[in-house]
């Protein structure tokens, strides 16, 4: 008996050892594909360093050789970017980092404070090589940091991730989002002539990744539908001209990338993929289109009422929020309401003035009233990104002495002096069990919930991208210009066309050199992001706003300096502040002209018009709740100024 048991145990042991080896080798093709690509990339990186070290002087001819080598490495890098961006995004940025201003906001905004970090990598090295008097040490430093960052991808933790099929589908999702948002726009490729050739290489390299994945993970493989759609996509791009300005972005995204995204989302659901990465923090796995309001989770619009799902309660909160939105009881003098500046009939902004009037009813505020529509899709609120959520912003305006000049306690007691408000708030109190009494937070949460419902609408362009309707050729041309020649899409990313780019966990800032006035006598003296996070790169930097509804949300820019879209396009077409003779040392916008023709400008505006959402607005309430304090009952609906 003993012998039998011993021999049984031994055979079990041998079997399990053999089995464990088989399991390790199971994903070999896919992992090997990664390791081979990485080895070739690293070899080229070292050759580049040797090449630079061999030069005694950096002359024009050897700079050309160095540039060519960097461009070659970028080609090796394209396929690897599929994994790099998802698995270790910070290392990826060291390898092919963005412009310095973006490093300032290199944070997970909900939890970390902005910090300063120096950029590195090929993009910056290529840009540096365009400058005069190149310092070899600085050039080597930019590139050596890339080599150092490459080592991160050789760690066991990365191999472990590669051996897990969920990571593949999540990396693929990010890859598809980036194909729709950055890979075709020159966002990470300053040499415009390389954008489409690099895209072709990337698509082919990722096809190899797909093949190796399917060999290694037969039980969780990509479907034939996906692979066929992807092959059609490759064919489409291969038939496109290499000239970036002639690339058909509209068809590429509508007919190829968006359908691929939908299938990948279906794979995510079918394979029960879940994420352990911050890269997926905001993304919604139930969204079946990139052009959907469900693509990523924006702000918590319900505030303190966040877990309320009872429809009747939500209706009550909505009604309460509407009354409060129009009620000047929120201001220090009971004469100003949210609707004083965010006019619901004007897309919740004020289209009649550059900047709204201050509380003192004399001076103007420094900044233009932003539309509240789509505000929930910003990660940071205000033009300088001062607030991380909608409720803090609302609180900030009510208590600002320049705007509503009230204090929280007094507003709360005034509101509770109105029987209707008091009864509703007390009734809703049971939905916020951590609070024993009604607080200011209940009030501002009802307001943010109320106005956020107007962000739930789509635009004709969304319908076109989702193949629900066709859209005119001029709009398509306008979109192609937006993504290409006009260079708008390097800062305004789909689907919101604001500064929130995949994976949608942070807002970007830009320095474009907005003038103080239409005569361009000086740059606006508003320091923008610098007021929140002082660094030389953030001086005059502002959060990139949405293009959606721009046709109805004039005036434009943080100070409302431009009153027409034509003026805005002319500003960009002529190179922003620098291009118009202002000296903006840290401008992130190219200062040369975009050379847009009148016809192109017109198409661009038609595209922007197609982003006007079919918002259904509501009339103002007929009356405001009565207070037991007589002096409060004189207040006007919406305020008096």
């Amino acid at each position: 008996m003993k012998k039998r048991l011993v021999s049984l145990s031994l055979s079990l042991l041998v079997f399990s050892i053999i089995f464990s080896f088989t399991k390790t080798n199971e994903h070999q093709t896919y992992v090997l594909n990664f390791k081979n690509k990485l080895a070739l990339f690293e070899q080229n990186e070292h050759e580049l360093i040797d090449l630079i070290n061999q030069q005694n002087q950096l002359t024009n001819s050897n700079i050309k050789i160095i540039k060519d080598k960097i461009l070659l490495i970028r080609k090796n890098f394209k396929g690897l970017d599929f994994w790099f961006r998802y698995l270790a995004p910070l290392a990826q940025k060291k390898i092919n980092g963005p412009l310095p201003v973006e490093w300032e906001t290199e944070v997970f905004e909900k939890y970390e404070k902005p910090y300063k970090r120096e950029g590195a990598g090929f993009t910056l090295a290529l840009q540096y090589l365009e400058e005069e008097n190149i310092d070899k040490t600085h050039l080597l430093d930019l590139l050596n940091q890339s080599i150092e960052a490459t080592q991160i991808y050789k760690q066991d933790s990365i191999t472990k991730e590669l051996n897990s099929f969920p990571t593949f589908y999540l990396s693929n999702r990010l890859y598809l989002l980036n194909l729709a948002c950055i890979y075709t726009t020159g966002f990470d490729c300053p040499d415009k002539s390389s954008i489409i050739p690099e895209l072709k290489i990337m698509l082919a390299d990722v096809n190899e990744i797909y093949t190796s994945f399917n060999q290694s993970f037969p039980n969780n493989s990509l479907s034939n539908l996906y692979l066929n759609t992807y092959n059609d996509c490759i064919q489409f791009v291969n038939n496109q001209p290499n000239n970036f300005e002639q690339f058909d972005h509209f068809t590429f995204i509508r007919d190829h990338i968006n359908p691929l995204f939908k299938i990948n989302q279906e794979h995510i659901i079918k394979n029960k993929v879940y994420s352990k990465s911050l890269m997926d923090y905001s993304l919604n796995k139930n969204a079946n289109s990139i052009f959907s309001k469900q693509l990523y989770n924006g702000q918590n619009t319900k505030g303190i009422y966040l877990r309320v799902i009872d429809e009747n309660a939500l209706t009550e909160i909505n009604k309460l929020g509407k009354l409060l939105f129009y009620d000047p009881i929120l201001s220090g003098n009971n004469e100003r309401s949210c609707a004083s500046c965010h006019k619901p009939t004007q897309f919740f902004t004020d289209t009649t003035i550059s900047t709204a009037i201050q509380f003192n009813n004399q001076n103007a505020l420094e900044r233009n009233t932003p539309t509240l529509i789509n505000a929930p899709y910003n990660h940071l609120i205000m033009a300088d990104g001062k607030h991380i959520d909608l409720q803090l912003q609302t609180k900030g305006v009510i208590t600002s002495n320049l705007e509503m000049n009230a204090n929280q306690d007094s507003v709360l007691s005034k509101i509770l002096s109105c029987k209707e408000y008091d009864e509703t708030l007390q009734k809703l109190l049971k939905y916020t069990p951590t609070e024993k009494t009604v607080k200011f937070d209940h009030i501002i949460s009802a307001i943010t919930y109320y106005y956020s419902q107007f962000s739930n609408y789509d635009a004709p362009f969304d319908a076109a991208m989702n193949k629900q309707t066709d859209i005119g050729e001029k709009v398509k041309n306008g979109y192609n210009l937006f993504m290409g020649k006009a260079a708008c899409a390097t800062c305004h990313f789909a689907p919101q066309f604001n500064g929130v780019k995949p994976p949608y966990i942070g807002s970007e800032f830009e320095v474009i050199g907005v003038p103080e006035n239409n005569a361009y006598t000086s740059i606006s003296n508003d320091l923008g992001r610098y007021l929140i996070n002082p660094a030389k790169e953030t001086k005059n930097a502002f959060r990139t706003g949405t293009i959606r509804n721009a046709a109805f949300t004039k005036p434009y820019m943080h100070n409302g300096v431009f009153s027409t879209l034509e003026q805005v396009i002319d500003f960009y077409n002529t190179g922003g502040g620098n291009g118009n003779g202002l000296h903006v040392n840290n401008q992130t916008l190219p200062s040369d002209s975009l050379l847009l023709t009148e016809n192109e400008k017109e198409n661009l505006i038609l595209f922007i018009n197609s982003l006007t959402e079919k918002v259904i607005f509501e009339p103002a309430p007929k009356k405001l709740p009565k207070s037991n304090l007589k002096y409060l009952n004189k207040r006007k609906i919406g305020g008096s100024y």
């Binding site: 939890y111 352990k276 923090y281 319900k302 966040l306 049971k430 069990p433």
Partner: protein, 141 residues
């Protein structure tokens, strides 16, 4: 042979003992969780730096823990509480299990329940404070 029979029965008894410590099936509504919390005033261990804490800070800390237990009861207890001898027991979590926002993404079951639209940053801090400094129940999660 007797030895193997003994081993077999030992394994069965361990399984049976473990079955006694099983997940709670309760799922409190927002309103019910409020009642539970009010009925069970909790005393907390103070944080390591409590000696240097001002009275206001101590009050703030206790309020945070008080909110934490309510939120825990609302959205965590149904999966995490153990039912031992017919009583609901809040298990003890280790520090790595209470890693700030990483809690949101480290476990598949948290994917929907702990997303930001269901639990704010402040509330997450409150729950972590409560679980970290509550009196230990001796039942490990």
């Amino acid at each position: 042979m007797k030895k193997y029979v003994l081993v077999f029965f030992s394994i069965i008894s361990i399984i049976l003992i473990n079955c006694k410590v099983k997940k709670s099936k309760i799922n409190l509504s927002i309103v019910e969780s409020n009642k539970v919390a009010n009925a069970n005033p909790t005393i907390y261990d103070m944080p390591e730096d409590s000696l240097t804490m001002t009275d206001d800070k101590k009050k703030e800390f206790k309020e945070s823990c008080d909110r934490g237990i309510i939120i825990y009861n609302t959205i965590c207890a149904s999966c995490h509480n153990k039912l031992i001898d017919g009583k609901q027991v809040v298990p003890d979590f280790s520090l790595p299990q209470l890693m700030d926002y990483e809690i949101r993404i480290q476990y598949p079951s948290h994917e929907d329940r702990l997303k930001e639209n269901n639990l704010t940053i402040q509330e997450l801090d409150d729950v972590v404070n409560y679980l970290r400094y509550k009196k230990k129940s001796g039942v490990h999660f």
